[in-house]
Symmetry: C2
Subunit: 207 residues, 2 copies
């Protein structure tokens, strides 16, 4: 079954702890590729190309749009943001688990385009009040950003039932354990092509 | 989230090791209810009511069919076999994970009726030849039964892509680990009602 990876999509409010979960579980879930977004906005201080984002110019981004090279993209405040398919395809061909951190809209689009490879989980705090508390505690956002994140969260939680699994990040150790289970299961997801290849080999391979 | 269980469906050829996986993982996956079939056939030597099957008479079985009390049922050699919904509902209300060992047809019917609660995995040997070897090795079946099981297996593997996950029982320790991940993930599956209840509580609960 080598050469056939699969996809794990994580969504959920900023502040719910998606990045911390991936970091804490990284040693337990095998080889994975964390999908990095492509953007036309300028790098902020400390941001690195190929780590935080792939930074490209507008012409190159629009050429890739025309070539169908984005799984999904959006324009925000005049800048493009999108998920390039090329590194995803390469990781899948290398048999890796590809992890996406995208919003509910990105999840819906990805489902439509490569749903047979996807396992998805919505990650959230146990309550709205706890989300607000965590956003304030981390002190990285100004008041307007916090308010926008909370408004987004109130919309996004409405889509929980579109996800395979719900991870409630209350007790962090428990949430890490849940995330590891979901990521390990996601590796066992077989797309149509993989399933077909497996069945053909299964029938014809001597034990 | 108590009071809301979820469902894990296992299918796959007889001889692939579903029962052994459940047995080996039982201590690791929390409280679960293994769904027992109901039948009108007479108990064989050593079979116990409420352990191997629920043994009932034809009249009672047919009354339950009319009352919609079966998730699915079939008639084989003049005997009824079916999955009663009552114990499943009780286990779900108790917040348990309900595990079904049913065939691909039962899986399809269950998906239609309670798909939002279901995570499913197809369990198989790495090859057809290995399946045959295991069936012969366990010495419980006569030649005709072995042949029938293999014919069934050849049909059932065609449905692998209808399942969420594929567990290939090659190295048993690895298969147990895979099964534990799938069962733990299945607990994080939220049906429509659960998701709605969670979102309502999430918005209104003080952190």
């Amino acid at each position: 079954m080598s050469g056939f990876g699969s996809i794990l999509i994580l969504s959920g409010p900023s502040g719910a702890g998606k990045s911390s979960l991936i970091k804490a579980a990284a040693g337990e879930i095998g080889d994975f590729y964390f999908s990095i977004s492509t953007t036309t906005r300028a790098p902020r201080e400390g941001e690195k190309d190929g780590v935080d984002y792939f930074f490209v110019d507008k012409e190159s981004f629009e050429a890739d749009i025309r070539a169908g090279e984005f799984l999904e993209y959006a324009q925000v405040h005049g800048n493009y943001y999108g998920t390039s398919l090329k590194p995803v395809r390469e990781a899948l061909e290398a048999g890796k688990l590809v992890i996406f951190d995208i919003d509910v809209q990105g999840h819906a689009i990805a489902r439509e385009r490569m749903g047979d490879l996807i396992t998805s989980a919505f990650v959230t705090t146990p309550s709205l009040a706890e989300l607000e508390r965590r956003l304030r505690k981390r002190c990285t956002d100004d008041e307007e950003t916090i308010r926008r994140r909370i408004e987004n969260a109130l919309v996004e939680v409405e889509y929980i039932s579109a996800y395979d699994f719900l991870i409630v990040n209350d007790d962090f150790e428990k949430a890490v354990d849940d995330f590891i289970a979901v990521a390990k299961a996601a590796r066992l997801k077989k797309g149509r092509k993989q399933a077909l290849a497996f069945v053909n080999a299964w029938r014809n391979t001597a034990g």
